[in-house]
């Protein structure tokens, strides 16, 4: 039996300098001439789990707490957990290899059905604002926080990981795998005026490792509109 080959739907027009094979994914660690930022990084190979249960509070994936409010995120021990709604959360293994999917019911591995991109560096949020009406710089929310809505007209989960001076910062976005090419095309086109360039996984790891475990992220009071219709969900 031949070994399986996994392939990201994202193909940047740039020279890959370092490539590593990881769980049958060819992962570009570094591109030539990455520049000084902003950067866009393909993280599709990162393990992404979906967890659904009518009582999420009883779950502790990998021993980590799930945020209680929809829109809140927790970035702990290299894992980002995003609360999507009353019954669902997303678990992204950003900085470490994922263990085997838990055997208990409710978990789904969505790694190969979704594309995950990181956009960070100088003016990264200005690039994003050209493509979405989502308020990625909402001053009432503490990073990291999740917004679900259209980005370049495609339904996405967008996590603002860092908000720096001006439009500096970084975000992660995920959408269905089939939209990857047009999504990357739109982002690179919007970022051309800011010098946006593709970068390898090493660049992302260096940036994100400084963000993991920042205090306060798990309890971000990120949703202002929990209105009285929750029982109707």
């Amino acid at each position: 039996m031949k070994e399986i080959q996994r392939q990201s739907p994202v193909q940047f027009k740039a020279d890959a300098q370092k490539i590593a094979m990881r769980d049958n994914w060819p992962v570009v660690l570094e591109y030539s001439n990455e520049g000084r930022g902003p950067f866009v990084v393909d993280l599709t190979h990162k393990a992404k789990w979906d967890l659904q249960d009518k009582n999420l509070a009883t779950h502790k994936p990998l021993g980590l707490d799930i945020p209680t409010l929809p829109g809140a995120c927790a970035f702990q021990k290299s894992v980002l957990i995003n609360r999507l709604n009353r019954t669902q959360c997303a678990i992204w293994h950003l900085l470490a290899d994922a263990p085997a999917l838990p055997g208990e019911p409710g978990y789904t591995d969505v790694t190969e059905s979704t594309v995950l991109l990181a956009l960070f560096g100088p003016n990264a949020l200005a690039i994003a604002e050209k493509l979405t009406a989502l308020d990625l710089m909402d001053p009432q929310k503490q990073t990291p926080f999740l917004l679900q809505g259209p980005f370049s007209h495609l339904p996405c989960q967008v996590v603002t990981l860092e908000r720096g001076h001006g439009f500096d910062g970084g975000l992660l976005l995920t959408c269905s795998r089939g939209y990857a090419r047009s999504m990357v095309h739109a982002i690179l086109d919007a970022g051309a005026e800011f010098g946006l360039r593709p970068a390898g996984e090493q660049r992302f790891s260096a940036w994100a490792s400084g963000l993991s475990g920042k205090p306060g992220s798990a309890q971000a009071p990120s949703v202002m509109h929990l209105v009285t219709t929750r029982e109707n969900l």
Partner: protein, 86 residues
């Protein structure tokens, strides 16, 4: 100006992110004694209120939640829950 809708998870968003789910007609009728006529009325007959009505929406481009809001069909604006006015 497009309709804006308050999603219970995501807050106030552009109406184009949502799918309309029809008037809120209350609970599904009981199976016992249900006639084809009454079932057909429940499924197909609408009140078409000229004013404030309770209706279902789905945040299809966002969190995917189904929920109800009150909307004034004359102004096409979401309104606060109008229990006191009904």
């Amino acid at each position: 100006m497009a309709l804006t809708i308050s999603c219970p998870n995501c807050g106030k968003r552009n109406g184009y992110e949502f799918r309309y789910g029809g008037e809120d007609k209350g609970p599904r009728p009981a199976e016992e004694g249900l006639t084809p006529q009454s079932w057909c009325d429940y499924v197909h007959m609408n009140n078409c209120v000229a004013g404030i009505q309770k209706e279902w929406w789905c945040h299809k481009n966002g969190c995917g939640a189904w929920f109800t809001i009150f909307r004034n069909t004359l102004t096409n604006l979401e309104v606060e829950e109008p229990e006191a006015k009904l």
